[in-house]
Amino acid sequence: MARALPPSAALLAALAAAGAAAQPVDYALDPTHSFVHFEVLHFDTATIRGRFGPLEGQVTLDRAARRGRVQVVVDTAAVSTGLPVLDARLRRDDLLASTAHPQAFFVAERFEFAPDGGVAAVTGEFTLRGTGRALRLQAQRFRCYTHPLLRREVCGGDFDGELLRSDFGLSFGLPFVADVVRLRVQVEAVRRDAADARP
């Protein structure tokens, strides 16, 4: 059995650990694993799905202090449903209005943490078509791991949220295509090390 550290050393070690853990850590979104998928019901029958991304963005996490910040930029013209005709329709003025509003944004600073220290939910402002609204994204799963190829910490998960598209002025096709849009966000972010320039 290892000999216990003298009390002063143990205290120093604990302080050092707390200090290290309280450091905010910066992460950059991994474009190969960061997408927003949306789901909207068609004629109350079957679900239309589409994808935005790869997402660009940064995350700062301070898991000890239970704080965080995320900012994500979504290129609205990059919508992909598998149907070029539908993608073009979605970009028009009565839906995404991609010419006037080429980007959507999500900025969140309200982080909820699970008992295990993982991110449980983030709440912030989602700006689409120039209109900002509160949006809460709830984690379906969240995990940090050491990526075997990158040899860096990667944190990520799946986050679900819901919005009314009419709140943002995306009115075409109501009510045959539902107003409620379910967002399924895949996100993974790679820890930046000291050598990386801060954004």
């Binding site: 004629f43 799905r49 993974e188």
Partner: protein, 191 residues
Amino acid sequence: MNTRTLLAAAALAATAAGAQAQSATYAIDPTHTFATFEISHFGASTNRGRFDKKTGTVQLDKAGKSGKVEITLETGSINSGTAAFDKHLTSKDFFNSAEFPTAKFVGDKFVFNGDKVAEVSGQLTLLGKTNPVTLKATNFACYDSPMLKREVCGGDFEATVVRSQYGMTWGLNYGFSDAVKVVIQVEAVKQ
């Protein structure tokens, strides 16, 4: 055989024929029919990909509560949003699209809940191997399309495919999941 029995048999046959006559053929609407797979990435997030090219038909007998569906997916049309991932998925490590350009589902066991399709069981052929798969409906409805002026039936279905059953084993030793969830949107237009 007495007259009464004969009459009953004739009535039964007529009913069966009547039900049969209500069986209708529906053509898959490729603009509202997609299969998307979901697989865990290192237990953190979910990778998704969809097959953009598919064809198929559905026979549906709502009165007789039976049906048959055939859907063919072009495995080379997989689309994940990441070109490098698509290339890996169509390679020999996964779908081997050069050698096996299509995957096919034939479902002929329909379970109804009232007048709605609740479940479709059948056989999935992938990489030259065939195994049973069950699709469970999370939505189902029929409606008259104002654009097409025809009846459209469709729904959302979910299935779990165990990829090692088809010999698709890449990444199992790194901990990537063997069970893959597939979510399916399908709409079909009455012919």
